[in-house]
């Protein structure tokens, strides 16, 4: 059996550990693994009749080749945000022509399936967030055997309690906030720390909760700057070291404002976010007159080596996915449910959204994490 594996969307620490574990587990069963480079892009840009392009977008892997890859973050297979089912006219490769009468964006899924056949792939293991896996679901529906592994630093894939990368991202956030305390305290300022987190505020909320930050602004609740300013001024006055800190999700909005987006939308309809931390900082400075330390953690949150928990989950998801693939299953996503490793239909990712339960975990009046009940919740509380 030949197993294909690819990584899509944003990189997170733990991807390489998952790739290594798939290769080793497959080898134990006597199967081979081929890596598809640059996410779904390979399936669009490979010309099955051109051996050079087949080689360019693939990486044969065996246990020796993957021996050391788990020691670093990122992904050795590289990634992209390409969606072969939604291709802009400008992105169509020269050797392809859109189907007659089709509208932009074009669907090149039949071509993608041809490419998988050209590689002789019997079953595909995509590792990605809900965007990447949604195309995995599409291929499953087209008859391609697919076993999905969820990853995202936001932990927002519906159908699983945990996605590879979240623990390391929060660990980084907590660590950097700790390091900012000395500067913020020495100068008696307010620190505004912007964290990744597009439509869901988990990273801001959970990081603030764990780092003991005074206030957290999350994507789900527009913030009233005057109220936030009052709270932070009081927090600072009450702190013997005379400083205060607030985390802000990159997708947060100021009341009366809108999400700060830039650039063109990608194939999944997302534009680049960023800048709300600076905005909140400038406004707080104006209202309070207190000097602000603005810090965006940004890409540093998902950079570097995985922590132990992400190594644990990456290895176990990979082993489970490989076993399902070898058993001949398809359309499954490996998952954690109630603290137990399991698998669910991949279609679950499209059946709901996974967000912070604001009523249960956050006080929108005081902009504070407020974990009302812990019993019965998954390890990371959502």
């Amino acid at each position: 059996m030949r197993i294909g594996i690819l990584t899509g969307g944003g990189d997170v620490p733990g991807l390489n550990a998952a790739i290594k574990a798939v290769v080793n587990r497959a080898a134990e069963h006597g199967h081979e693994v081929i890596g598809l480079r640059r996410g779904w892009a390979g399936l669009l840009y490979v010309n099955p009749d051109d051996p050079a392009s087949l080689e360019e977008f693939s990486q044969p892997m065996d246990p020796n080749w993957v021996r050391t890859i788990d020691r670093s973050g990122g992904t050795v297979l590289h990634s992209s945000r390409t969606h072969p089912g939604k291709v802009k006219a400008s992105d169509v490769p020269d050797f392809l022509t859109p189907p007659d009468g089709a509208q932009e964006p074009y669907d090149f899924t039949p071509h993608a399936i041809d490419v998988l056949e050209a590689y002789g792939i019997d079953v595909l293991i995509p590792i990605g967030g809900d965007d990447t896996l949604s195309y995995g679901l599409r291929l499953h529906q087209e008859g391609v055997p697919v076993i999905a592994i969820p990853k995202t630093m936001d932990n927002d894939v519906h159908g699983t309690d945990y996605c590879i990368g979240f623990s390391t991202a929060v660990t980084r956030g907590v660590e950097f906030i700790g390091n900012l305390r000395t500067s913020t305290g020495s100068h008696e300022r307010i620190a505004v720390v912007e964290l990744f987190g597009r439509y869901s505020g988990e990273t801001s909320l959970i990081t603030a909760y764990l780092a003991g930050v005074d206030r957290a602004v999350i994507s789900e609740v527009p913030v009233d700057i005057n109220r936030l300013a009052d709270y932070l001024t009081a927090d600072r006055a009450a702190n013997p070291s005379q400083y205060a800190m607030v985390t802000v999700s990159e997708g947060a909005v100021v009341e009366g404002g809108e999400m700060l987006l830039s650039g063109e939308a990608d194939a999944y309809g997302h534009r680049k976010l960023g800048g709300v931390g600076e905005q909140v900082g400038s406004m707080l400075k104006e209202v309070t007159g207190i000097h602000i330390i603005n810090q965006t953690i940004g890409y540093l949150m998902r950079s570097g080596s995985p922590d132990s928990l992400d190594l644990m989950v990456a290895n176990n998801y990979a082993v489970m996915a490989t076993d399902l693939a070898v058993e001949g299953q398809s359309g499954r996503m490996v998952a954690l449910k109630g603290g137990t490793y399991t698998n669910v239909p991949i279609s679950m990712i499209g059946e709901g959204v996974k967000r912070v339960d604001v009523g249960e975990m956050y006080d929108p009046e005081t902009y504070r994490p407020n974990i009302r009940h812990v019993g019965g919740k998954p390890m990371f509380l959502y």
Partner: protein, 338 residues
Amino acid sequence: MSVIGVLTAGGDCPGLNAVIRGLVVRAHENDDEVLGILNGWEGLMEGHVEMLDNHAVEEILPKGGTILGTSRKDPYVHGDGYESVARTLKRNDIDSLVVIGGDGTLRTALRLGEDGANVIGVPKTIDNDISGTDFTFGFDTAVQIVTDAIDRLTTTAEAHNRVILVEVMGRTKGWIATYAGLAGGAQAILIPEVPYDIEQIAALIRRRHRHGKNYSIVVVAEGIEPPEKVTLQKDVFGFDRLGGVAYQLAPVIEELTGYETRVTVLGHLQRGGTPSAFDRVLATRLGAKAADLAAEGQHGTMVAMRNANIVGVPLAEGCAEIRGVDDELFSVAQSFFG
């Protein structure tokens, strides 16, 4: 027995507490007393002092920040110069005033010395650009933080075939950018002292990517000249969208290379946290030397590292024009561009 007053002024810098500890412990060995002056020059003007015994400096060695606090007040700007600090000095019988601060603070100390105070300077900046000393404490810690960030960002850049611009501190001199860029194996380093040609940088990235390395890290000191013809976007509230020269460079590099370009501004992360081993040792030695200079009555001096020795030099040397990256060092860094 004499009395030493000590204050920290200006920005936070890893190793400040190590200097204070080095000074206090050595001073007591010399049978001198140490008074901590709180919140920089402000505390000296307002008479906020506290006795520092060895107990007070226990366990502060690895801690960032400063146990004495700091402020941006200056006796010549916010007071009547020497007159505004003389009362606290006299009332507490302070024989020597040890001032830990950056080049601006040292200039204030020099002026107070000329007006009658017995000052000893300890140079402090993470930027490593103070004249008269080979290294300043805090610099090594900042370089390590930036190097770690470059190592981590390299995997992200590679995963997405991107160019990542890492903006670091350095308004007028590029020491952190040069050291960390060299240590992190960056593909290019842009510093204020050396004019750059953006076309040339783009060509270098394009050539590298053509040869199969599909990602690049460019370290940018915050003080470099921005590229021409850049207009900052305003947000709905009329604030500038994102400051920082790297944000201005990114679209230009993206356009010239055709590669996705992203920005990470390390900002305050560079001066927070716990000092490196090198900075703890350097800071402790500088603090101890300041205590010895005070015991010997060598005022108007500054402690410094010269050729790996800790020495006292005239304070005026530390107040000379700030020091840029030397050509030899930058030429080594340049050998690894691309």
